[in-house]
């Protein structure tokens, strides 16, 4: 529902709300403060403070069952163990990040193509608003169902005796079942695309539905072909949506450990999975150091992508 409401409010911006209610300046000036207080408290105690604590603990020591205040750099040294030695092949951190970045690139490219195509179809090919809302809802509803179940759902399709292999063997395309369909890089990438394409569709849909149709018509009238209109008018005007969708997809894949775990049969490393493994081994300070490294990398990616957008214009 909300996605369609967002999509339907062309031209609305946060600045609009700021300017609108000029009324009642004198009375109730403190009101916004107690109204925002609960949200501020939740973010303070469950987001900001935890991030600070993580940063601090990344310099602490730990014993088997507790963490003790200190200022040591061991945890970072361990995180980058053997990374700057002459034989960097032994450095697991670089390899893990390389693998995670590989998934990022693949999933980003695929979700971008699918997301852009679906959004384009909904905005420029569907004629009635009701149909558009219904089709957009069809794309969004799985987002509200369980990700773990949606991963498990691939087992009967991709397994050794799964539907895909049954069909492939049955039709004689392959002689024996393909093994790399499940619990593999392929399965991880597939599930990540399956789950996260919605994060690309919704922001692009939002940007695209604000494109003034007369611009598209003007391009046609000026003799542009379909592709020229697409690449010179529609893509540039959807840039913000593309950037927001990319931020979502890239940050989700960078931090992912659940999908990699389940679809990789707990055998494939990822930046997030390293952290979760260290936590289960109660190596909190090392996990914190790795979390800070991941945080810095993710922030750098967001920093790069956010140059393309003014997020607040999109609301």
């Amino acid at each position: 529902m909300a996605d369609s409401t967002v999509a339907e409010s062309p031209g609305a911006s946060l600045r609009g709300t700021r300017a609108a209610p000029r009324v009642r300046k004198a009375e109730g000036r403190g009101r916004p403060y107690w109204q925002i207080a609960p949200m501020a408290v939740v973010f303070l105690f469950f987001f900001i403070l935890p991030l600070i604590v993580t940063f601090v603990v990344s310099f602490w020591n730990y014993t088997g069952y507790s963490i003790t205040p200190a200022f040591v750099l061991n945890n970072y040294a361990l995180a980058f163990d053997r990374c700057f030695s002459p034989a960097p092949g032994f450095c697991t951190t670089f390899r893990t990040y390389l693998s995670t970045l590989k998934f990022c690139a693949i999933v980003w490219a695929v979700t971008l193509v699918i997301g852009f195509t679906i959004a384009y179809y909904l905005v420029f090919q569907i004629r009635t608003n009701t149909t558009r809302i219904v089709l957009a809802l069809i794309c969004t509803i799985p987002f509200w169902t369980s990700n773990v179940i949606r991963m498990i759902s691939w087992i009967p399709l991709l397994g050794r005796n799964g539907l895909v292999n049954q069909v492939l063997v049955g039709t004689g395309i392959v002689n024996q079942p393909i093994e790399w369909l499940l619990y593999s890089d392929f399965a991880v990438a597939l599930a990540l695309v399956h789950i996260n394409t919605v994060f690309m569709i919704v922001p692009i849909l939002n940007s695209m539905s604000r494109i003034d149709r007369s611009l598209v018509e003007a391009a046609y009238d000026a003799g542009a072909s379909g592709w020229q209109t697409l690449s010179n008018v529609i893509v540039p005007l959807s840039k913000t949506g593309i950037a927001i969708g990319s931020i979502f997809v890239v940050t989700i894949v960078m931090g992912d450990f659940v999908t990699t775990g389940i679809m990789g049969g707990q055998q494939i490393a990822s930046a997030g999975k390293v952290i979760s493994t260290e936590i289960s081994a109660l190596q909190f300070p090392i996990a914190s150091a790795n979390a800070i490294v991941l945080l810095v990398i993710v922030l750098m990616i967001i920093w790069t992508l956010i140059r393309f957008v003014d997020i607040r214009k999109e609301l």
Binding site: R31, I36, V42, N147, H194, M254, L315
Partner: protein, 318 residues
């Protein structure tokens, strides 16, 4: 007026249909397979049709404490939903005015939405562990200093407190402390963004009319603003419940000893090799669809009602 559909329309329609198949196909597959006969396996073919695996699930055979996890998730989901709606609505109202720190809170919400969940989860776990260690430490100190038999007055109270902590205190972590907080960091940003979308389209003249007629601030909110935004709040509730019900990454380190349904399910993926896991999947997805259906149904009902009774403009004076 209607022009002929272009070839692109048909190609893109086919692409869209394929995408929908890709989106729903797997879920439909496990729903079908959850009705496997008692001898059926994890893949096709269906070995008869039965409710065997649902019965199995109900009896709890081979599945550790699924019912408990289901109840945990349901309770947590309801609390998260209520808090998300209330806190987001209040924040949405606050953002209709200027206040110091509005940019900071907005960007914090965006950060909470985008930063990797494992980091948030770890941070909350650490925060609570440090709090636990501090409380236990305080208990030990108090107990050692004042816990003897020969102390009186305030010292005795402190000593008793120390002993009490030593004997009873285990952890602050739990489903409704750290777990609840972890879920809220995920649902509140969505709630806030939806509230922005709502109030951007909100016409303040209704409220002004109410005020001109002498309504107090509370009356204006209760009888004018709230009924107008109520259907959109259902959207916030939808996000609140479904996101909490399915949340796994942020819960992973932050729910303490209790387990939520998604966490239990994740554990089952490595241990269970019967269709009982599909039955659980069908039940979980069923709950999600029930909630989505109810809420979307309510929204459409309210909108239809508004179209019917919404305006009496042009109908003359009654």
């Amino acid at each position: 007026m209607r022009e002929q559909r272009s070839r692109a329309f048909y190609i893109l329609s086919a692409v869209f249909a394929l995408y929908v198949l890709f989106l729903y196909g797997p879920t439909i597959t496990i729903t079908v397979l959850s009705f496997q006969g008692p001898n059926g396996g994890l893949t096709f073919p269906l070995n008869g049709l039965s409710l065997h695996w649902f019965h199995n699930l109900w009896a709890g055979i081979g599945v550790p404490n699924v019912a408990g996890a289901l109840v945990n998730s349901l309770e947590l989901g309801i609390v998260v939903t209520i808090l998300t709606v209330v806190i987001s609505l209040m924040a949405g109202l606050a953002y209709r005015r200027r206040f110091a720190g509005r940019n900071f809170i907005f960007y914090t919400a965006i950060a909470s939405l985008t930063l990797p969940s494992i980091i948030v989860s770890l941070g909350i776990a650490l925060e609570f562990q440090i709090a636990n260690q501090s409380i236990s430490g305080l208990g030990d100190t108090l107990s050692d200093s004042y816990g003897g038999d020969d102390v009186h007055g305030i010292a005795a109270i402190l000593g008793a407190l120390g002993n009490g902590i030593e004997n009873n205190f285990q952890t602050l972590m739990g489903l409704f402390t750290s777990g609840l907080g972890a879920h809220l960091t995920w649902t509140l940003p969505f709630g806030l963004l939806i509230m922005f979308a709502i109030f951007n389209r909100f016409n303040p003249s209704y409220e002004e009319a109410a005020r001109d007629l002498g309504a107090s601030a509370w009356q204006g909110f209760r009888y004018v603003v709230l009924p107008l935004v109520a259907p959109s709040l259902l959207g916030v509730a939808l996000f609140g419940f479904t996101l909490s019900w399915d949340e796994i990454a942020r819960s992973s380190q932050a729910v303490g000893s209790a387990n939520t349904l998604p966490l239990t399910l994740e554990g089952l993926t490595t241990t269970v090799t019967t269709p009982v896991i599909y039955a659980l999947g069908t039940v979980t997805t069923g709950v999600s669809f029930l909630v989505i259906g109810c809420i979307l149904g309510c929204v459409f009902l309210v909108q239809a009602r508004r179209r019917r009774y919404g305006s009496d403009a042009g109908k003359g004076l009654l």
